[in-house]
């Protein structure tokens, strides 16, 4: 079968026309204006993400991933260097931690003796009584509220405790 010479010529002409016209049309189109008109939210709403996820074989993807290779590439030391351990420790509420875990019992078993317990009680009671005497003593001479402005401690020690907390 011989090819139709007219048909091939028309095809060439169409090809040449397309090559000329298409760039002109593309240049004439304002892509930005077109994109502005597109309601992406509406498109997203129409997409059934669940269906797409269902089609994805996650197991197959995981099987293909060479985790060992990824781990080998990770510079753990660099990550550790970047982590601010002090900031993390500061975030931890030690009191809550002790309340919620057995940590407190362990500390108690390892550090508490009868004498320590007695000292803890005496010292805390002493601080309470100190406050009481200071408050009432100054209230009696009419400067009860003024003591609130008194310094808590020597500058070196109070500044250190503020920095520590």
């Amino acid at each position: 079968m011989t090819p139709n010479p007219i048909g091939s010529k028309v095809e060439q002409l169409a090809q040449a026309l397309a090559e000329r016209i298409v760039p002109l049309i593309v240049d004439a189109i304002d892509i930005d204006a077109l994109l502005d008109k597109v309601d992406v939210e509406k498109i997203i709403e129409r997409v059934d993400v669940e269906k797409i996820i269902d089609r994805v074989d996650v197991e197959k993807i995981i099987d293909r991933v060479d985790v060992e290779k990824i781990i080998d590439r990770v510079d753990v030391q660099k990550i550790i260097d970047r982590v601010d351990i002090n900031a993390i420790v500061d975030e931890i509420d030690i009191d809550k931690l002790v309340e919620q875990t057995e940590l407190g019992s362990i500390i108690a078993r390892s550090t508490t003796g009868v004498l320590t317990e007695v000292l803890d009680v005496i010292r805390a009671q002493g601080v309470g009584l100190d406050d009481f005497i200071l408050r009432w003593g100054n209230r009696l001479i009419g400067r009860g509220k003024r003591i609130a402005k008194w310094p808590d401690g020597p500058p070196l020690l109070v500044e250190r405790s503020v920095v520590a907390s």
Binding site: G104, T116, V127, G128, I133, N138, W150, P154
Partner: protein, 184 residues
């Protein structure tokens, strides 16, 4: 002991380095007087026994009032000044968790420890008036603190104490008691 409630954070954590109050200081001083006089009494007994052993005669060290007073005064000076110079705290202060520091909060010198001890004796002669500053002065300093350029602060590990406290209340006995409470 296990039923003692955990004291508030206000009374424990965060008090380290704060000026100590009158009651803690008074109790610490009483403990120190007891300790120093106790050691003195034991010392006198030992010296008397030694003298009797060596000379064969019974001699009571306490017979000579002036000698006894001078010895006691020197002993008390050594007791307080030495301990303050070495660690900034006496035995009684260590029990109550107190420490003598400079007005700024640093360690005190030997000279300050000596002046503070002598000034303490002078303060005692005022029958307590010299100690009123502990309650009414903004830095809770008594006259001997002013003379030596010192202050007294809380120095006990309050955070550790609080943890111990909470741990004790969390222990098996406490838990058992809590479980029994609804039934009773």
């Amino acid at each position: 002991m296990r039923t003692v409630p955990v004291p508030s954070t206000e009374l424990t954590v965060g008090r380290q380095g704060h000026y100590a109050g009158a009651v803690s200081r008074l109790v610490a001083f009483a403990a120190d007087v007891g300790a120093s006089w106790g050691v003195y009494a034991v010392g006198v007994l030992l010296v008397n026994a030694a003298l009797k052993l060596v000379t064969g005669h019974s001699y009571s060290f306490g017979q000579d009032k002036i000698l006894s007073f001078v010895t006691l005064a020197v002993w008390d000076f050594v007791y307080f000044a030495y301990q303050w110079a070495v660690s900034g705290k006496t035995l009684g202060m260590a029990i109550l968790g107190l420490q003598v520091v400079t007005r700024e909060g640093g360690s005190i010198s030997v000279r300050q420890a000596a002046i503070r001890t002598i000034a303490l004796g002078i303060c005692l002669l005022t029958l307590g008036i010299a100690f009123l500053g502990i309650v009414f002065q903004r830095e809770r300093r008594a006259l001997n603190d002013f003379m030596a350029g010192t202050a007294v602060v809380y120095d006990w590990d309050a955070r550790a104490a609080r943890l111990r406290w909470m741990a004790r209340n969390q222990g098996p006995l406490r838990r058992g008691a809590e479980k029994k409470t609804p039934a009773s």
